[in-house]
């Protein structure tokens, strides 16, 4: 194994690597032992704390309904946010300044504000000005917050997706006499959506992670909130965190794996124009929120479209 930074190791480097490995392994083992010891000291390995997870009751009463709500909110946010994002993304590319500028302001404004503030605001807004029932309100507020934020991120994705298409596409459309509207609808958008698919799927990871905010701050009964109710019932704090953490990791791992599978498939396919927005590109649009792109490291063909996000 060589890289930019080091050659294939010779005998001395090999010896040194073995020594470093042993020391590092010892440190990791020490850390693991320390965690084990601390858990044992606080009696966290007691079977009584872990037993609930082997019985169906804990899953059917708490975890699965919570997970269901998490997925429901994420799916709703995606389904509502995507068309809205597409609308603003296209508006940002308009030929008219009076369409382009307001769209840019809206997008930049909602990207600058924390999702949590949007959720808190939406929650209180529905409470004061609308007749949404109090059981439904948390879901509405969570979805509203997620939609406002993610639509503005998706708007940038759509913009980048359209800009990543070869220029010949719209020129050809113009040459056969299509109007701007028709060019966008029947030529550019379908291709851009294909190019964006991996990026859109990896944005789902962000949405799934952000639903947890609603559980803590406005009482939406999603997975993290269900964990709280559950640990109050079974008095199993640490195990419930570990199990819920694992559920999130597995769920998001499936989503990211699906995104990178999709990306590879799209890159291979001869039907597309070859433009693909990957999870890596999403990191520039929305860095601290994106899930891991497993094993896709390396170059990952970037797109030539313009990207100016600050």
């Amino acid at each position: 194994m060589t890289s930019v930074l080091y050659d294939a190791p010779g005998p001395r480097a090999k010896r040194r690597n073995v020594i470093i490995s042993v020391v590092f392994f010892a440190l990791l083992a020490l850390a693991a032992w320390f965690i084990w010891y601390k858990m044992d000291e606080k009696n966290q390995w007691a079977w009584a704390l872990w037993k609930p997870f082997t019985q169906s009751e804990a899953w059917t009463t708490y975890l699965l309904p919570g997970l269901g709500n998490t997925l429901k909110a994420a799916a709703l946010a995606m389904v509502i946010g995507l068309p809205l994002g597409a609308f603003f993304g296209i508006a940002r590319l308009s030929d008219h300044v009076w369409v382009r500028l307001p769209a840019a302001w809206v997008v930049e404004f909602f990207r600058a504000i924390p999702v949590l503030l949007l959720m808190l605001f939406a929650n209180e807004f529905y409470n004061s000005y609308t007749g949404v029932s109090s059981e439904q309100r948390p879901l509405y507020a969570v979805v509203t917050g997620l939609v406002l934020y993610n639509a503005s991120v998706l708007a940038e994705v759509v913009k980048a997706g359209i800009l990543s298409l070869p220029k010949g596409q719209s020129e050809a459309a113009m040459a056969i006499g299509l109007r701007k509207n028709q060019t966008m609808r029947s030529i550019l958008l379908p291709q851009a959506v294909t190019a964006m698919l991996p990026a859109i799927v990896s944005q789902l990871v962000v949405i799934v992670k952000d639903t947890a905010l609603g559980g803590v701050m406005i009482g939406f009964t999603e997975l993290l909130n269900a964990r709280q109710t559950m640990s109050a019932f079974y008095a199993t704090v640490i195990p419930s965190f570990i199990v819920v953490g694992l559920i999130y990791i597995v769920l998001n791992f499936i989503l990211t794996s699906f995104a990178s599978w999709l990306e590879k498939r799209l890159r291979r396919s001869k039907k597309s124009t070859g433009a693909v927005l990957s999870a890596e590109d999403m990191e520039e649009l929305n860095p601290a929120a994106v899930g891991g792109s497993f094993g896709t490291g390396g170059e990952g063909g970037g797109l030539p479209g313009s990207r100016t996000y600050t």
Binding site: L5, L116, L117, L120, V208, K209, V237, Y248, I249, F253
Partner: protein, 224 residues
């Protein structure tokens, strides 16, 4: 119209945003240090270190930040009695929140830096090895300085995201902007006005960061 603001003195509006700034500042520095170490591990010649770095980044990035922050309070503080060197609960929550933010944000700093390391031309590292520099010398003297300059843009994005993410500290009772907004918006009738005030506050915090660091990244980028 703004009369109600004077009813809040624990924290005040400015105090709450100052707390947001402090959280961002300390978490930013912590994440930069831990993230750089992780990035060094991920590109190191020792497979075990690479494995650890990869595992850390992929696990942490898939857990919601909210879960990590709540865990620092309910898990670390309540069960394991982690006191973070203070008996004062307010200081304790503040430090626990920073611990959580560093744990989470470092994974993103690491990935940004790693992509920066990839932009350094192969020839430079080869030249460094040819004059007999070791791995750590190559990394410290040749590669990282250039990598840092080329990732100011992505790191600025991480910093802006961190600024927004510090609102999650409200979940464990750290009196920052989102915490104050939650209290205000529930007690006052002026929902729209309060929303506008806090939105404006965050635009003021994040916009200059983006502009200044965007300008810096253009100025400092290594021209090739």
């Amino acid at each position: 119209m703004f009369d109600f603001l004077s009813d809040y003195d624990n924290p005040t509006l400015l105090g709450a945003f100052w707390m947001t700034v402090k959280l961002t500042f300390f978490s930013g520095i912590g994440s930069l240090i831990w993230g750089t170490l992780l990035a060094a591990m991920r590109v190191s010649p020792v497979p075990l270190m690479r494995g650890f770095g990869t595992a850390y980044v992929n696990i942490i990035r898939n857990i919601p930040l909210t879960v990590i922050i709540i865990f620092t309070s309910l898990g670390l503080a309540n069960i394991f009695r982690v006191t973070m060197g203070s008996d004062d609960f307010k200081v304790q929550d503040f430090r626990l929140a920073i611990l959580g933010f560093v744990t989470y944000t470092a994974a993103f700093v690491c990935e940004a830096l790693r992509s920066g390391i990839n932009t350094v031309p192969l020839g430079q590292a080869e030249a460094a090895r040819a004059i007999g520099l070791t791995f750590s010398q190559t990394l410290r003297l040749i590669v990282l300085p250039q990598a840092f300059r080329s990732v100011i843009g992505p790191l600025a994005n991480v910093l802006i995201a961190l600024t927004k993410n510090t609102t999650v500290a409200a979940a464990i009772g750290v009196a920052e902007a989102a915490y104050l907004m939650k209290g205000m918006i529930e007690n006052e009738a002026e929902v729209l006005l309060i929303g506008a005030i806090f939105a404006f506050g965050f635009v003021v915090l994040t916009l200059p960061t983006g502009l200044i660091l965007g300008w810096l990244s253009k100025r400092l980028a290594v021209k090739r």
